[in-house]
Symmetry: C2
Subunit: 260 residues, 2 copies
């Protein structure tokens, strides 16, 4: 992960982003956009910020629930400017790296994206389900997926389009299942994504596999097809670790939940 | 890195920590301990916090200097309560993991620590050298090393002693060179560390090797000797990645400098 020269950079002007519905990008709420320190004790804020750093660096390992004292902190983080700022800066590093990749003429230069909390944001769902502090309810989450109205994470949409312009083939590798293909495609298109090379979902035989294994196996298939996976973007370490890993992996923030 | 069950835990009472000199632990300065927002624009604070997250998650890849707009932010972070809090929480996760390791009877259960910004803090040096924003001056840093007065990072000292009580063999694997062995040992003892199994420094043949390679090779030697490296603690990704990696790696914070 630490073996490529990298230059700080900014996004090239993204004049080609199509106009998309105002509902299809996550935005700061009209209030609560300030640093979000209402009702959080200073001690809790410092602790929870440290907890979040441990989650994002994978120091926390497997974790099941947001610590009770940090529920409000996570809510404020997700609804405030920091989540968007963190995503922006990560996309900037991703873009800087991508702009320094020398692409081949064979169309085999690839970038792998996860979907949930990477391309699409389920924040509207989690806002009404405790920001990850409620026990995960598969039925209600599936209903939300079927509504196909999750907005894009703005920084990811910009990066996605820039990578396409640069000539990368985009692979979407998600923990969602094959029966959710139609809703997932509809949602991606609704929120501004298009022209992916392949959308890879869990098949029957993948059910029950840890995400790290399932995603590694599918990346390995891409490598076996001759693709060079330069970059991989995901909000879970299980999107990024294992085998057939990308030359550079980019960990997006997600203090709401953990997937093994 | 994400394959071991982990329970949140707290340090067991550390009644065995010997009394050590008041100079040998880093402490909050008498002022400036608040969240450190003096003179930093809100926009810069949000950006720099995102930059720091990208550094700690390795999203930033190779980086050479703190962005100019973040120099004051890094200073406030290092001198304020957040650096100590981040280190504390990471040590807590390390401890929780260590307490769940079932140790063998053969004395081959190992933990690897880096030294600079892991066991010892060079903050007194960096406080007078721009907190990493000045160009690194090897001569003046070597003089500092020879003074052998770097304080312990308190959370690491507690973890170190707890690991010893649990029965782990402690290996110190540092980028410092053999000619600094004496000063390094003196400094470790001064700041409260003792009874390490082995202190591994760069030999002549290691000079010029990337830290990731040098440290992987030395871990491989430990594995070849039959040691099981359960945990590894370091402030650089090059302390943790490569081959012969630990079952769990713990990335300590360091927004001051990057080592490949």
């Amino acid at each position: 992960m630490a073996s490529c020269l990298l230059f700080m950079g900014v996004f090239s002007t993204m004049s080609l982003i199509p106009s998309i519905s105002s509902e299809s990008l996550i935005k700061l709420p009209s209030e609560g956009a300030m640093l979000g320190n209402r009702k959080i004790k200073v001690d809790d804020r410092v602790y929870c910020d440290s907890w979040r750093l441990s989650v994002e660096t994978n120091n926390a390992g497997i974790w099941e629930r947001i610590p009770a004292r940090c529920e409000r902190f996570v809510e404020d983080y997700m609804d405030g400017e920091r989540y968007l700022s963190d995503s922006d800066v990560i996309a900037g590093f991703s873009s800087a790296f991508a702009n320094n990749v020398k692409l081949g003429a064979d169309g085999r230069d690839a970038w792998v994206f996860d979907i949930d909390e990477t391309l699409l944001s389920n924040l509207p769902y989690y806002e009404s389900h405790g920001f990850g502090s409620d026990i995960f309810n598969e039925t209600s989450f599936d209903d939300w997926v079927n509504e196909a109205k999750a907005p894009a994470l703005p920084a990811s949409l910009r990066l996605y389009k820039e990578l396409q312009q640069l000539g990368f083939k985009i692979f979407l590798l998600t923990g969602r299942s094959e029966y959710q293909r139609e809703a997932t495609e509809a949602n991606l298109l609704f929120s501004g994504y298009s022209k992916w090379e392949r959308l890879i979902l869990r098949e029957e035989s993948d059910q029950g596999k840890p995400a790290t294994i399932y995603k590694s196996e599918r990346r390995q298939e891409l490598v076996n097809e001759g693709y060079r996976i330069h970059g991989s973007s995901g909000d879970q370490w299980s999107d990024l670790l294992g085998f057939a890993v990308a030359r550079r992996s980019f960990k997006l923030p997600n203090p709401m939940y953990f997937i093994l």
